[in-house]
Amino acid sequence: MKSKAVEIENFTKKFGDFTAVDNLNLDIYENEVFGLLGPNGSGKTTTLLTIATVYKPTSGDIYVYGHSVTREDYVVRKLVGIAFQDPKAMWIDKPYELLTWHARIVGYSSSEAKKVVQDVMELLGLWEHRNKQFYQLSGGTRKKVELAKVLIQKPRVAILDEPTAQVDVLSKHALWDVIKKLRDEGTTVIIATNDMFEAEKVCERIAIIYKGKLRALGTISELKDSIPSGDLVEVQFEGGGIPEGLLRALSDIGRVEAGSSVLKVYVEKGEEKVIDIIELFRRYNVKILRIMVKEPTLDDVFTYITGAKLREES
């Protein structure tokens, strides 16, 4: 059985009358890359900051390796490292000074600190920027400085709040490799992101949070399978239009979107339904030029789950 790195139990956080997180229950396992997905203001950052003991729960509790964030906050902070969504530095700070101070604070000796800071800065391509002031750095470089803090600390639980926002595409891929390496070296990684591609690329399990509540939880394939009519069968056909009878017959299989030369059918278990669809096209003498079965993307899952909740609530 997998051991739990983080247990979130009935966690609620309120700011005045506003409930940012509402009775959240969630387990994050040791040595996995776990994704927290949700639109802006959904409660992701509040949850992460509470795990890092920066916020205190209004009710409920969070345990990191069995230690409560409310009663053993110091022990939790020794286990957790966080790269914030907004890089934390004053405009006149210099990355090297800031990271060296951070390294000393997390326990390195003076000489060790210099070495580890240089190693991490070189790994992230920050070394040439080491003595610039923060206001001279691009948004992406500032994010890398924030990530460098976690890489220096090598915590048992690393929290990365939108780690690649504002980072260019090439650097994103490099950072994803760095995150996976961190996991390979024994760190449990929790990522909050709005970037579905990033989540698919890096995360092993995902929780979707919306309006402070947990809406879905599972591996990426579990989430994809969880939405009805999740697969898409896309048919490119010859001729001008689809006969009414064919459309009616296809509607019995799944939801149909028909264009002038392309028809889309949203179905469950597309690989099985594709045979029926081909058979219907043959029966109505409509020639198929190309047919494809597509899985839903995480984007589709996210849109479906948050959209469905929105529809339910309205």
């Binding site: 900051l49 890092a52 003991t53 110091y74 902070r77 490292g81 604070i105 997390v106």
Partner: protein, 274 residues
């Protein structure tokens, strides 16, 4: 054998204190402004005011020239205003989210509070050192004991003021309110102190609340302590003695430091900054 936790806490306090010291070199403009203000006070205003009141006040200062009396008052108010200006630095840090970062670091909150107060107080002493040297050169103070005790007493006083300002900033969590409160407290405390006038003069004025506030004012206590240290003749007209001042200053600083530690440990969390 030393307790490893104690050693670790001392290490953490010193490292946290180094945060403020690290930032000190970035405040060159602020230092230049303070030096300019101070020079103006010492060379122009202090000279002018002492010319006006010098003779009439000698009986209340034990014969100490009012110019010298006033210089130690200015130095004290400088220590106070530099300590209280840490409030603006911390408010800026809150604004920029640095407080969130600090709260996430693997350090006990109480230890962090002590480190922050110590760092800010040491920064204050370093920051005001050039002005102190100017004052002590003008006063002709060469006694090493007096200089060291002056520095220690200034540090103790600064610890109290910085602890107070930390409590204030974190309680109100507002840049505007911090500005207003710090400005108002600054205006009241400096004016209702013995920075400008000796305590016997204030007592002779017959305004009881003014006298009581000046007597209990931490700024008065530091200013008078420094005066007694430098001018033994001032001690002769100071009827309350040195011991109550020392006890008061230590109690003031340690009391506020303990409150700041308690607040950091029990109540402080990020968010809610206005």
């Amino acid at each position: 054998m030393r307790n490893p936790s104690f050693t670790s806490n001392i290490r953490s306090i010193l490292l946290v204190a180094s945060w403020d010291l690290m930032k000190l070199k970035n405040q060159k403009v602020f230092l230049a402004m303070r030096v300019a203000w101070f020079t103006l006070q010492v060379l122009v205003f202090a000279r002018a005011i002492s010319f006006i009141v010098s003779q009439s006040i000698l009986e209340y200062t034990g014969g100490v020239d009012y110019y010298y009396f006033y210089l130690l008052g200015i130095y004290t108010s400088l220590i106070y205003s530099t300590s209280i200006s840490r409030g603006y630095v911390i408010a800026d840090e809150f604004d920029d989210g640095i407080v969130e970062y600090h709260l996430s670091l693997p350090i006990k909150r109480g230890v962090f509070a002590v480190g922050r107060v110590l760092g800010s107080s040491l920064s204050t002493i370093i920051f005001t050192l050039p002005m102190m040297i100017v004052v002590y050169v003008i006063l002709g103070v060469s006694n090493l004991f007096s200089i060291i005790v002056s520095l220690i007493s200034a540090l103790v006083f600064s610890i109290g003021v910085v602890s107070f300002v930390l409590l204030l900033v974190f309680s109100v969590k507002s840049t505007d309110l911090t500005d207003i409160l710090v400005g108002a407290i600054d205006a009241l405390l400096v004016r209702l102190s013995t920075v400008f006038y000796p305590l016997p003069v204030i007592e002779a004025s017959g305004i009881a609340p003014y006298y009581v506030i000046a007597l209990m004012n931490p700024i008065s206590n530091l200013a008078d302590f420094l005066r007694i240290l430098v001018f033994p003749e001032y001690y002769m007209v100071f009827k309350y003695g040195v011991a109550p001042i020392v006890v008061y200053m230590v109690a003031f600083s340690m009391g506020l430091l303990v409150l700041a530690i308690e607040y950091y440990e029990r109540k402080l969390e990020a968010g809610g900054w206005k």
